[in-house]
């Protein structure tokens, strides 16, 4: 993997939100470290799965990557070039996003044709005919009939709307697509159709995905590598097979134990996590997971473990693996 071309590189990225109190005189009483010093790379042509519970910063991270929010600190490099909210136009064409909720991400007052053509209108000087020529084959690829162009979003089901959202994201021919929980609002039988479409589109257009989800089985199905986040930090990053066969971080283990398996015969020896996500406002020093971790040590309350490569390509941030030989 290391010799593959790096498409996106994130260096020490941080996003802090101030917490204000008082109605007239805003006083900053704390900061929420939504994304706290994260570094990783996304290689060309791969799917990087990003998993975590609500409040872990996965949506903030994806919004920063696409340039919707400014970073507090750190760098995002796309093909070696720095990008962000003030990134160049060419970056906007090459990176697109597919949203979670197909009901609120399509403008109800636009026809399907206007929705899908909108990126072309902004970024190209195509004539009406050229635009239509770009849209039609794409519509066919996402299995939406051509007579849908004159219709409005409410005339479509959730699955079809998500297909339209995919067509809109792909119309400029991007290289990098961020999918923010794209199937969590869909029904079970439709979810499989859309997941298959994602894989098909990736093959066809050579796309690179960042696939954000809270559903471990969906992430496992679609990803090549998986990154686990907890309270603004990356706690584990490994290839899919490595992560599932050799799970190291106690949080990743707990996350996997918590998934209900669709098999009534399955033996369940689960160690459930006690407690809940601590408040992200001014979290305690040290490891963010210390309050729920079954293996907590004194050092965890003092120092945040850094993300270390314990096996080739397998990164984990936990004091249990301070030395390379550390085993659980």
């Amino acid at each position: 993997m290391n010799d593959a071309e790096v498409l996106v590189e994130v260096k020490n990225l941080k996003k802090y939100f101030p917490v204000n109190k008082g109605m007239l005189r805003h006083k900053t009483v704390g900061t929420v470290k939504a994304v706290d010093d994260i570094s990783f790379k996304i290689y060309k042509g791969e799917t990087l799965g990003l998993i975590g519970e609500s409040g872990c910063g996965k949506s903030t991270l994806s919004r920063m990557l696409i340039g919707l929010t400014d970073a507090t600190d750190g760098q995002i490099l796309f093909k070696g070039q720095r990008v962000g909210t003030k990134g160049p136009q060419s970056f906007r064409k090459q990176a697109q996003m597919i949203f979670q909720d197909p009901y609120s991400s399509l403008d109800p007052r636009m026809t399907i044709r206007r929705i899908i053509e909108e990126p072309l209108r902004i970024h190209t000087k195509y004539t009406a005919k050229q635009k239509l020529e770009a849209v039609l084959p794409l519509l066919d690829k996402v299995s939406i009939p051509a007579d849908a162009l004159g219709k409005y979003p409410h005339e479509f089901s959730g699955g079809q709307r998500q297909r339209i959202g995919i067509a809109r994201a792909l119309v400029l021919g991007p290289e990098f697509v961020i999918c923010d929980e794209p199937v969590s609002a869909l029904d079970m039988s439709v979810q499989a159709q859309i997941l298959n479409l994602f894989k098909q589109m990736q093959k066809e257009f050579g796309l690179t995905y960042l696939f954000v989800s809270h559903d471990m089985s969906v992430v496992k199905h679609i990803s090549d590598r998986i990154m686990v986040m907890y309270l603004g930090k990356v706690v584990e990053l490994a290839s899919k097979h490595e992560l599932f066969s050799n799970t190291l971080h106690p949080y990743s283990i707990a996350l996997m134990n918590a998934i209900p398996v669709p098999n009534p015969e399955a033996v369940r020896d689960r160690t459930l996590l006690e407690g809940e996500l601590p408040s992200p406002i001014n979290p305690p020093a040290g490891c963010p997971f210390q309050s729920r971790c079954p293996h907590v040590k004194p050092v965890c309350g003092v120092e945040m473990p850094s993300l270390k490569e314990v096996e080739p390509g397998h990164f984990v941030a936990c004091h249990l693996f301070a030395d390379k030989e550390g085993t659980l």
Partner: protein, 329 residues
Amino acid sequence: MEDVLTVNNLKTYYYSNNKKVPAVDGVSFRLYKGEVLGIVGESGCGKSTVARSILHLLDKSYTKIEDGEILFHGSDLLKLNAKELNRVKGKKISMIFQNPQAALNPVYTVGDQIAEVLQLHENMSKKEVKERVIELLRLVGIPAPETRLNDYPHQMSGGMQQRIMIAIALACNPEVVIADEPTTALDVTIQAQILKLMTRVKQQFQMGMILITHNMGVVAEMCDRMMVMYGGVVVEEGATADIFAAPSHPYTQGLLASIPSIEEDKEELFSIPGSVPRLTAPVTHCRFAGRCPHTFDKCEGSEPPLFDLGNGHKAKCWLLEDKNGESLQ
């Protein structure tokens, strides 16, 4: 086994723009004491409407229970008047809702909201009510219940709020608890905690539970028996282990095959083509016919009955006809 709740041929229709929508179109089942019955299906299949019909929680301006009976200890809940029904609601049959944030009242403390049920149904002094509230909070695993009962819902996390909902549902030791997607709004690690809590209280109080969900994992984990609903009818029912081992209706087969698996790798997922149809009454064909890979003439012509496959396992599909031949209805 003793059955606490029997639903016979329930039909609940929605009316919109003079169109009849058969949201629930002839559903029958029994709930036994101490068991968990899962109702699974996609959105629009009628699973929530079944639950709401039982407790009369539907908006009467556009819904009507057209037919059927809901027997609770032999008396038909549909024939009770409002006063009699209120004695059952919340006391003998209670409900846990999907979204605790929306179901809890933001301007009352959680202690007050639990106490409300007790004040309505039980003849208790103020002191007894408070003691019972604290006992309930402890039961559902809220730390420091003596102080937390003065909290407002917004001071609690989603998981804690759902625990409060469970405490409200359990307040009067109900015989039946209906849980409508109780963990859908929660994170996986919190979901696991809530499911464990529900299993524990169910065993402790030996009540019957109806668990409505779209998550096959939750069903496999929690339920003794399950029903799969599609387009307002039950297409398959039986013991959970039997259905997972040998799904007999093409829809159930498709659903189970379309779930991405943690254990094995598949390049492509099986997917059911099309999407959930919108129905208008009356229906004279198999509701799954348009999406089924095995459709033949008979499916378009008439609706199959539930065929008995033994051991309480039934499925509504013409493919099962010549094996067993006999219909139940």
